[in-house]
């Protein structure tokens, strides 16, 4: 026997490549079968992963909805012009016409002092007190709708309008929106932090499950090592196990969030009715779903990889 470690009838390379792919498939099915054989453990692990991931998932959807609602506000940012009390009706209407023709303005709406007062009388509940006033304290108002554009353009427009002699106060209705955006920005960052923490938790959960799995199959690992299995061969079923945990956990978390949103949808419809608004709940898009499932699967793979790297090398036949 001349060759140092020449095998006498080793399978041909092409066969070995297809056998390699076949082993991948086998490991995949084998690990799935292991999961199927131990349903309680699997369900518990997968449920923990699902619940853990549903939190960042839910937060994400919440923010997505807030973003959509506030986006509606942003597109309708208006400038309210309160004219001086000494500006006459005729002059005010002329001004409105002038503003309408400006390049950055889409439309304007004129609310005369009288109609403002009338509206106030009807809605405020102070009708009687208003009647005691000797003169109308409300100014003419022009609501200016700017063309859609950046904040800078709107600010410029605001400054131009404010500089007009007839205009007493020019007010951009987006100041509160900016505060809201800042709050949303803080919330977004919090969601990122929460997501990182929970992803880490999932990593630990899967790592620990795979570690237990490795311990349970200690004997099998020893035997296969003695028979000449490479580390990669031994690693494979465990990595696929992690992938399955991640994938199933991702699907569970998706279900949890979807069910949660269905539960919210009812009261939200009533809220819509009360506010005469038409807020529509946004749930996961297909794109979101794919991202959720992919990242949970990758977390599963990473978790099992860590466990396998840490524990598999320590198992050597003695």
């Amino acid at each position: 026997m001349a060759g140092s470690n020449v095998r006498r009838d080793r399978p041909a390379t092409s066969n070995r490549i297809s056998a390699y792919l076949l082993h991948h498939l086998k490991s995949l099915l084998f690990s799935l079968d292991k999961i199927y054989q131990a349903p309680t453990t699997t369900i518990m692990t997968v449920a923990v992963i699902g619940i853990t991931l549903s939190l960042p998932g839910g937060f994400y959807l919440f923010l997505k909805n807030i973003d959509a609602i506030s986006g509606d506000f942003r597109s309708s940012s208006q400038i309210s012009l309160y004219l001086g009390l000494d500006v006459s009706d005729k002059k005010a209407r002329a001004l409105e016409k002038q503003i309408t023709e400006m390049a950055d303005v889409t439309s304007t709406r004129f609310i005369s002092r009288e109609s403002s007062l009338e509206e106030f009388r009807q809605n405020s509940g102070f009708g009687k007190s208003i009647d005691t006033l000797s003169s109308n304290p409300l100014p003419h108002t022009i609501i200016v709708e700017p063309v859609e554009g950046d904040t800078f353009m709107v600010r410029n427009l605001l400054n131009t309008l404010e500089a007009m002699p007839e205009v007493d106060i020019a007010k951009l209705d987006t100041e509160w929106l900016e505060r809201l955006y800042t709050i949303i920005e803080i919330a977004k960052r919090s969601v990122i932090i929460v997501t990182i923490l929970f992803a880490f938790a999932v990593l630990l959960i899967i790592g620990n499950t795979i570690r237990l799995d490795i311990q349970n199959r200690y004997q099998e690992i020893i035997v296969t090592k003695l028979i000449g299995a490479t580390d990669a061969f031994i690693r494979r079923p465990f990595l696929y196990g992690g992938i399955w945990y991640g994938l199933l956990g991702g699907i569970i978390s998706w279900l949890i969030v979807e069910i949660g949103y269905l539960a919210i949808a009812g009261p939200l419809d009533r809220l819509n009715l009360l506010y005469q608004s038409d807020m529509n709940l946004i749930t996961f898009s297909f794109h979101d779903f794919i991202i959720l499932i992919t990242s949970s699967t990758l977390l599963g793979l990473a978790g099992s990889w860590i466990a396998v790297a840490r524990h598999l090398n320590q198992i050597e036949p003695t």
Partner: protein, 232 residues
């Protein structure tokens, strides 16, 4: 096939399991490794199977130095060896067929080839009708035969057996040993550790005897001396 040059194995704590052991087992040889328990038989087999490394001296398998083999090469070297354990080391969660097929799967054979060779190996140990049974349902002798089938299914060049008949009655022991002799006759190098002296006597094969880690009898000594002088 196997060459030991002044191999010493000292375990942590100072226990010396092998002291200055030199021997040579040629291709196609069959030998028995004997000695009382604790004499170093298992350690010697473990060094060949790359489970332990010599503390001093040199161990060669097919002229490959086993002392400082890179970790990633170990599996490929082991594929040339079939190992039979006293306690079979079968995997009880899968049927006999899957147990025996394992070495072939590891080495990347195709399913048809795996089925063919696995059945051939099972046939050789007389267990073809048990391929679907779970190992737990088999008797001790049958389990050991499954272990042998698994050790030979990939046609290794070297067969190592550590007390393969340790738990079996004399009739079964003889059957098992005769299987080894059969394999040797078709060219497989065989090294069997055993203390079943009566049976070894009957089979009339060279003996290597260890006592407290030292080689006290070596029926292969002539060839060993030859090789050793040539080596220097």
């Amino acid at each position: 096939m196997i060459e030991f040059h002044n191999v010493t194995k000292r375990y942590e704590g100072g226990f010396e399991a092998l002291s200055n052991v030199s021997l040579k087992l040629d291709d196609g040889d069959m030998a028995f490794l004997t000695g009382h328990s604790g004499a170093g038989k298992s350690t010697l087999l473990k060094i060949i199977a790359l489970i332990e490394k010599p503390t001093r001296g040199q161990a060669l398998l097919n002229r490959i130095n086993l002392n400082n083999l890179a970790r990633h090469r170990v599996p490929y070297i082991r594929r040339n060896i079939g190992i039979i354990f006293q306690d079979h080391q079968l995997l009880f969660d899968r049927p006999v067929f899957d147990n025996v097929a394992l070495p072939l799967q590891i080495q990347g054979y195709r399913p048809q080839e795996i089925a063919k060779r696995t059945r051939a190996a099972l046939d050789k140990v007389g267990l073809l009708n048990k391929e679907k049974s779970l190992p737990i349902t088999l008797s001790g002798g049958e389990q050991q035969r499954v272990g042998i089938a698994r050790a030979v299914v990939h046609k290794p060049m070297l067969l190592l057996a550590d007390e393969p008949t340790g738990n079996l009655d004399p009739v079964l022991s003889r059957e098992i040993m005769e299987i080894f002799v059969d394999f040797n006759q078709v060219g497989v190098t065989v090294l069997v550790a055993s203390h079943d002296l009566g049976l070894i006597e009957e089979l009339d094969k060279p003996r290597i005897t260890l006592n407290n880690g030292q080689l006290i009898l070596n029926d292969l000594a002539d060839t060993e001396q030859e090789a050793y002088s040539g080596w220097k």
